[in-house]
């Protein structure tokens, strides 16, 4: 018999009471999103997996000490963001894997017609060539389909600011269209 989909708050409470399956359900629900969010910041699969594990460990730490979590999803993303910042501080600069580096001169060649069906690799190339702060919002808005308000809470900016960044992102993406 399958249980109905449980609210995050209830799963968190159950997990804090020792119900490991509840925490497992939270992991099932958010691990892919958090991995994706991290991956499109760090660009390296192994690092993204490592940071995602760390993220859920930190989440568990907070649950176990009784931290009140109002919005679990936003909480996950915030922890993930902090881990990414720590990761970059421990390295000195952001490095894109060579396969995703597109020379400025080649940007004109890397363009698609509006109706062209792009595969995952092509979409990732475009995404990873957008500036990091804009890319973050693109991932949250167009891939994870979060609302402006949710995004504003995660990135700690005002909704107006988020809207302006989305607009800039759309302008950037326009460069890739013939």
């Amino acid at each position: 018999m399958t249980k109905p989909l449980e609210n995050d708050n209830i799963l968190t409470i159950k997990a804090s009471q020792g119900d490991s399956n509840s925490f497992g359900l939270l992991f099932d629900k958010y691990s892919k999103k958090i991995y994706r969010f991290i991956y499109y910041k760090v660009s390296i699969k192994e690092v993204a997996e490592d940071l995602t594990s760390q993220c859920f460990l930190k989440i568990w730490e907070q649950i176990s000490i009784g931290t009140k979590i109002h919005h679990f999803q936003a909480f996950c993303y915030k922890i993930a963001r902090n881990l990414i910042i720590d990761y970059y501080r421990s390295r000195e600069k952001e490095e894109l894997p060579l396969i995703y580096q597109i020379e400025h001169k080649e940007a004109e060649k890397f363009q698609f017609s509006p109706d062209e069906n792009l595969d995952q690799e092509q979409l990732e190339k475009i995404l990873l060539n957008i500036k990091s702060d804009i890319r973050e919002i693109v991932v949250l808005r167009f891939i994870d389909e979060l609302s402006i308000k949710e995004i504003a809470e995660i990135v700690d900016k005002s909704p107006s600011n988020v809207r302006v960044i989305i607009h800039r992102a759309l302008k950037e993406l326009n460069k890739y269209i013939k």
Partner: protein
């Protein structure tokens, strides 16, 4: 055009970790949870402890609140009643009033009672906002600040009520209670939105207009989930024992359509007031040596983009009206939500012009966007400026006095 590209990004939802990693990490985390909670007492005892902890935390959450409770009990006599009448946030009695409200919230045992308390507080904030708008003895800045404080709290209460409803919806087997609450939330939000229009009208201040409009949008958005619950119930029962009549729901959705239409018209009015020839906005500014270089924004293009969005939003809104007339409430609501999202995008586009201060600069410093394509132009400019810098040398250092 980029919308098709944007839609394609959804394919990246497939991106994920390897299944092996997922399985191993999940097992590791579950083991970690089990290990960390291993020293917990047997489940029934831990349940009792947790239950009593919850009750204890609700009654006596912290020493600060213990002191507050004793202080409030000491004050409660006449002061508490007097405090209820206070509506100006900067006054001491208002703090007493809000503390009493927090206690009321702490004492709300169930999610249902918590929701009702939040709605009650939201109504109080709305009443305060109306009184503040009517008050003539406040300066403009003071009035704006106080109204903004009060409506922000209103928004928080509505948002909290909507969140509580979601929890109740997930856990409560008695759908009747959920529907009753959803109805109460929907009606409260509707009333508040209407009364906040009154606040804007009475106050007639730009600062109040903006912040109250934002709060209205946000509480409307918060109310969508309760409205969906009611629509779902209405569509399944179809006339039998409805908590809220279909006509009432239609009216609520119709009001939403009207408000969105009003927003669209408001933005068109803003656009009409913009003369692209009189505006100079720089989308990028940077310094090379001692020279400021500014890249101008194409204002007409921005306006056209915003107008395109608004046209799209209006079309979807017209479709929402047709769906409403056809009796398809959920479809109508979805279309209104979609239209609102596009309006917000249009506002974001216009924010580049509307939110930025404009200035007029000496033409020699301006570089038109079309002229700055590729690195070569910039490099050429930089080389020239470097030569000038080197020629003038560091001995001719400018001081603030000289500039003045």
């Amino acid at each position: 055009m980029f919308e098709k590209l944007v839609n394609q990004f959804k394919k990246l939802q497939e991106t994920g970790p390897s299944s092996e990693w997922t399985k191993n990490t999940r097992n590791f985390l579950i083991a970690k949870v089990q290990q960390d909670t291993l020293t917990q007492e047997p489940s029934c005892l831990s349940q009792i402890k947790l239950f009593s902890n919850i009750w204890f935390k609700r009654m006596v959450p912290s020493s600060v609140k213990v002191i507050s409770i004793f202080a409030i009990i000491a004050l409660i006599g006449g002061t508490g009643l007097v405090a209820q009448a206070e509506y100006i946030p900067t006054r001491p009695l208002y703090t007493v009033k809000r503390t009493l409200e927090k206690i009321e919230l702490v004492l709300a045992i169930t999610a249902k009672s918590e929701t009702k308390v939040h709605l009650k507080h939201a109504d109080k904030r709305k009443a305060e906002a109306v009184k503040l708008a009517k008050k003539t003895s406040l300066s403009t800045e003071e009035k704006e600040g106080l109204i903004n404080t009060v409506v922000s709290s209103l928004e928080q209460d509505i948002s909290a009520a909507a969140s509580s409803l979601e929890i109740i919806n997930e856990t409560n087997k008695e759908s009747g209670k959920v529907l009753e609450l959803a109805k109460k939330i929907t009606q409260t939000i509707n009333e508040n939105i209407g009364d906040l229009d009154q606040v804007k009208e009475i106050a007639s201040l730009e600062g109040v207009d903006e912040s109250v409009s934002e709060v209205q949008s946000n509480i409307e958005e918060s109310g969508n989930s309760s409205l969906e619950v009611l629509i779902k119930e209405a569509e399944s029962l179809q006339g039998d024992e409805e908590v809220i009549s279909t006509d009432e729901l239609k009216q609520i959705i119709y009001n939403k359509i009207e408000r969105t239409s009003g927003k669209i018209n408001g933005i068109y009015e803003v656009i009409k007031g913009i003369n692209p020839d009189e505006i100079v906005i720089y989308k990028e500014e940077f310094r090379v040596g001692t020279t400021d270089i500014k890249i101008q924004l194409n204002v007409e293009e921005v306006i056209n983009e915003a107008v395109e969005k608004l046209t799209g939003a209006q079309e979807i809104l017209n479709q929402a009206k047709l769906s409403l007339e056809a009796g398809s409430l959920s479809e109508a609501l979805e279309k209104v939500k979609k239209s609102n999202e596009i309006v917000i995008e249009a506002e974001g586009i216009l924010a580049q012009i509307v939110d930025v201060e404009t200035e007029i600069e000496a033409p020699s410093q301006l570089i038109n966007e079309e002229e700055v394509i590729g690195e070569q132009n910039i490099k050429g400019v930089i080389e020239t400026i470097t030569e000038i810098d080197n020629a003038t040398s560091s001995t001719s250092k400018t001081t603030p006095d000289v500039i003045e």
